[in-house]
């Protein structure tokens, strides 16, 4: 078993971990970083429960080798709340819209929605569905998840226009 040191920025802090070169990024985030929001639902990139942002783009961290994270900036669900623990608008929207049931897919869905809600142009419901098509949920039928993403995006655009 070969080891290597990986240096990257995770949720705003510089981290250095010695990892087994065979580890996935999700293994490193959970095992070394204690970031348990990163869920394993399939381990092969089918379900999206392990979605994190790497340099702003959503990836299935279970099929992204930890060694590839060298020099990257990674954001997990834990990084969305501020230092005092105040949650972000998209997390609040998931609560208010009833988009959460068992909660196992929730972290991945919220992370997959970040590129949508940060866009300047509003996305249609069908476009939102396409953007999060790599994330599976068996509990909700997706309806309320799409509502939460749609409402957050609209709110952000409105807030921007008001400024």
């Amino acid at each position: 078993m070969a080891s290597r040191t990986v240096t990257c920025t995770i949720n705003g802090s510089k981290k250095e971990y010695v990892i087994d070169v065979r580890s996935s990024l999700s293994d490193m985030l959970r095992g070394k970083g204690g970031l348990d929001s990163v869920k394993h639902g399939c381990d092969v990139g089918e379900c999206g429960a392990c979605t994190v942002l790497i340099d702003g783009q959503p990836f299935n961290s279970c099929i992204y080798l930890a060694v590839w994270a060298e020099g990257k900036t990674i954001l997990t669900l834990e990084g969305l709340s501020d230092k005092k623990g105040t949650i972000s608008d998209i997390q609040q929207a998931f609560i208010d819209e009833g988009a959460v049931q068992c909660g196992f897919c929730t972290p991945g869905f919220i992370m997959a929605s970040i590129p949508i809600i940060t866009k300047e142009e509003p996305a249609s419901r069908d476009e939102i569905r396409k953007q999060v098509a790599g994330n599976l949920c068996r509990c909700t039928g997706y309806d309320k998840i799409i509502n939460a993403i749609e409402k957050t995006q609209h709110k952000r655009i409105e807030e921007k226009m008001a400024k």
């Binding site: 065979r22 095992g31 970031l35 348990d36 929001s37 990163v38 869920k39 394993h40 639902g41 399939c42 381990d43 092969v44 089918e46 379900c47 429960a49 997990t76 669900l77 834990e78 709340s81 623990g85 949650i87 997390q91 609040q92 998931f94 609560i95 208010d96 009833g98 959460v100 049931q101 068992c102 909660g103 196992f104 897919c105 929730t106 972290p107 919220i110 419901r125 939102i128 569905r129 396409k130 999060v132 098509a133 994330n135 599976l136 949920c137 068996r138 509990c139 909700t140 039928g141 997706y142 309806d143 309320k144 998840i145 799409i146």
Partner: protein
């Protein structure tokens, strides 16, 4: 009511959107050993021997256990309340590891290693010698006179056979002028696909075996583990943290008994047993495939004179919940339209396929498809109006099922149908779409259902609840009933707050169940918890409230009967003026130097009633004939689940069930290699689970009735939404094309043959 009926946010939502909610895999020690099960690569046969030499050489292997090492105990796995009567006990037909292999994927050995990769590697190096028999992969093959025996206790491969008759079918069908309609209907093997894989870990502490597991039924799993290992119930402790979905798969003992045994093998060190997604598909439970033959005799006035059903249920390798599902299905056939003479006969049959168990709505999605497809076949042949025909024959208020004695205490089904009809403009569209030509056609369809609430009187219904007051006037609410994503904790908190007179923030639900600490409850299944466990909450809350008022009466020197609790304050009955805060009462009751009382309450509820919930699905589809594809344009489910406790979570349950029903009707099925019995699509790419792009907007409406037997007028809700969707889609296709497809899923492959046979390809 102040709280019940409001669309409140979930009590666990914040934990879940921040990633703080702990699931089984988040609690395992980083130093835990890892266990990997070796599954058979034949479907039918006998393990003759193992060659473990190479496996033992892998560095980091701690122990290797084979089917020749485990206790010689056969145990049942089904998540039913245990029956103390022997004849009603679940079938004990498997061991921790099996020498007699009964499906491709059977558990035959296990490796415990320092880590996951080592365990995998060691398993891959175990060599097995089998004695192989011909795999039996269908009910027909299992029932053939020449078929070999899968379980020696059942030489003809029939797990259970049952029948009933209400009135005389033979006499009733002799009536003059009846129209006979018959059909054969078939449903596939599908899987629950909860996002969290099957997972547990086990260790020993203070002489007990502790299993932390993603289960719906911790108290039942404790009993099964004890039976499997041949130890006392009290020697086992099950802890259930948050779980990533269940849908009935986890209403069964899955990895827990073997996991409990494996920690014993290594002196109580922590051992993790997590299945891969592929193992979760093939080696846990699936939904029973069923085949139905229905014959109906209908009078010219649109009523049933006689009906019969013959049903076969594919059990797979082990009994699990066994005959309970198809029995439920043929009972559902009777209850939905309790008119005329009705007879039913059902068989549950062993095959060499993965074990079928409980799955959302427990046999009723199967019969729901067959029966509601059949009803549309009847109205098509006779020209009756589909709504009038259903309303004329369907269950009415006051109906008492002659076999189960379950009474219809409330029904809003007729209104549900009206709401759905109006939403979709069903009748007008149905007429409009009746005679289309061309490659793209539209259609509308509907289907209704009834569903029981809990398992009484077939099985025990019991639940307990505990409330403990804190010094600030808040309380801990502890349930044996489990939160599995359906929102149970939230509605229990609402019930407690409503009944005591507190605000929601004063109720702290302890979500985790621990069989050493938690009051008894059989768990999450049968859409029973708001009904059965909800009554335990209500009773406990009433006792708790009385204790608070007694103490407040002591403090105020007033008769407690003149006092009430409103919005966290003690008031005079029927008055709003605050006399004392509950917080003051709580503080004094704890710290009083003259009269300290620690206020708590614990009550159990033995439920001896049941009630039906109802609903309907209306769907509009578009079918692309050359592409053999159905697109759902609009869909609504309308439910009578009694009083809705929380509209937000109730709507979420309905939408999730509709999505599962759409998958059942349009895409999902498990395929098996016909030579070996190996599951071919045991992953989330090849198994077509509904994705965000496959799912249309899902419309939901409720017709609220006030059920006199529900704790707050409520009835079953969790499972039913799945039931009517697939037949509504099928009936919409019938409307669009005139083609009656009698098996699901209606995927392009199935539609190709159906459209070809109907001669619609130009």
């Amino acid at each position: 009511m102040k709280i019940i009926g409001k669309p409140l946010n979930r009590v666990d939502a914040k934990e879940k959107v921040t990633g703080k909610a702990k699931y089984t895999g988040d609690l395992v020690s980083p130093h835990a050993l890892f266990a990997k099960v070796m599954h058979s690569t034949i479907a039918n046969g006998l393990v003759k021997s193992f060659d473990l030499e190479e496996a033992w050489k892998v560095p980091g292997v701690i122990d290797i256990v084979t089917c020749f090492d485990v206790p010689d105990i056969q145990y049942p796995t089904a998540g039913h309340p245990w029956s103390t009567e022997k004849k009603h006990q679940d079938i004990a037909d498997r061991k921790l590891l099996n020498t007699r292999v009964r499906f491709y994927g059977d558990d035959i050995a296990a490796v415990i290693a320092e880590d996951e990769i080592t365990a995998h590697e060691a398993v891959s190096k175990i060599k097995v010698t089998y004695e192989e028999y011909e795999p039996i992969l269908s009910v027909e093959a299992a029932l053939a006179p020449t078929a070999s025996t899968i379980h020696e206790e059942k030489p003809d491969n029939i797990v259970v056979q049952s029948s009933y008759e209400v009135g005389s079918f033979e006499e009733a069908r002799q009536e003059k002028g009846l129209i006979k309609i018959e059909g054969h209907y078939e449903t596939p093997i599908v899987q629950h696909c909860h996002l969290e894989k099957a997972t547990s870990f086990a260790y020993m502490e203070e002489g007990k075996i502790v299993v932390v597991s993603a289960t719906q039924i911790p108290h039942i799993v404790r009993r099964v583990c004890a039976q499997a290992l041949g130890v006392s119930y009290g020697d086992i402790r099950i802890i259930k943290p948050y779980i990533g979905g269940g849908f009935g798969n986890r209403q069964d003992a899955l990895t827990e008994p073997l996991n409990a045994y494996l920690t014993l093998r290594v002196g109580g060190r922590q051992v993790r047993l997590e299945y891969t997604r592929e193992e979760t598909f093939a080696c846990t439970r699936v939904r029973h495939a069923m085949k139905f033959h229905i014959v109906s005799y209908v009078r010219k006035d649109g009523t049933f004179a006689a009906r019969s059903i013959l049903a076969y249920s594919n059990q797979g390798a082990y009994a699990s919940h066994a005959h309970a599902l198809v029995a439920n299905a043929v009972n559902g056939f009777r209850m939905m339209y309790p008119v005329g003479a009705i007879k039913g006969e059902a068989y549950t049959v062993y095959t060499n396929l993965p074990t079928a168990g409980a799955m959302r709505a427990y046999g009723i999605p199967q019969i729901g498809f067959a029966l509601e497809a059949h009803i549309d076949d009847i109205v098509r042949e006779t020209g009756f109006d589909p709504i009038v025909f259903r309303k004329k024959n369907m269950m009415k208020l006051g109906f008492v099922d002659p076999i189960t004695t379950i009474e219809c205490h409330s029904t809003g089904l007729s209104e549900c149908i009206d709401v759905g009809e109006k939403y979709l403009n069903y009748r007008e569209k149905r007429a409009q779409y009746a005679n289309q030509t061309g490659p793209i056609r539209k259609g509308v369809g509907m289907a209704i259902f009834c569903y029981k609430t809990g398992v009484y009187p077939i099985s025990l219904e019991t639940s307990a609840c505990r409330m403990i007051l804190n010094q600030d006037g808040s309380l801990q609410l502890q349930m044996g009933a489990t939160e599995i994503g359906q929102g149970a904790d939230t509605v229990f908190a609402m019930m407690a707050a409503e009944t005591i007179g507190l605000s929601m923030d004063k109720i702290h639900v302890i979500s985790k169940q621990d069989t050493d600490v938690t009051p008894y409850d059989t768990g999450a299944y049968a859409s029973r918890q708001t009904y059965v466990s909800g009554m335990a909450v209500k009773k406990t809350a009433q006792v708790f409230r009385k204790k608070l008022l007694d103490y407040a009466g002591f403090m105020l020197n007033k008769d407690p009967w003149d006092l009430d609790i409103k919005d966290n304050y003690i008031v005079h009955t029927n008055k709003d003026k605050h006399l004392l805060s509950v917080a003051t009462v709580a503080e004094e009751s704890c710290y009083s130097l003259s009269n300290s009382r620690h206020i708590s309450a614990e009550e159990s509820h033995h439920c001896s009633d049941n009630t039906y919930s109802f609903g309907v699905c209306f769907a509009e589809i578009e079918i692309d004939i050359p592409m053999c594809q159905i697109k759902v344009l609009d869909i609504i489910n309308v439910h009578d689940s009694g009083r809705i406790i929380n509209h937000q979570t109730a709507e979420g349950q309905v939408q999730g069930g509709m999505s599962m029903g759409l998958g059942y009707g349009l895409y999902e099925h498990l395929d098996f290699d016909q030579k070996t019995g190996r599951m071919l699509n045991d992953n989330l790419l090849d198994y077509k689970l509904m994705t965000p792009m496959d799912t249309p907007d899902l419309h939901v409406a409720f017709v609220e009735t006030d059920d006199p037997t529900g704790p707050y007028g409520n009835k079953s809700l969790g499972e039913p939404p799945t039931i009517p969707v697939a037949p509504a889609i099928r009936n919409a296709m019938l409307n669009a094309t005139g083609i009656a497809v009698n098996s699901i899923p209606l995927n392009p492959e199935k539609l190709f043959y159906a459209i070809r046979d109907a001669g619609l390809f130009k």
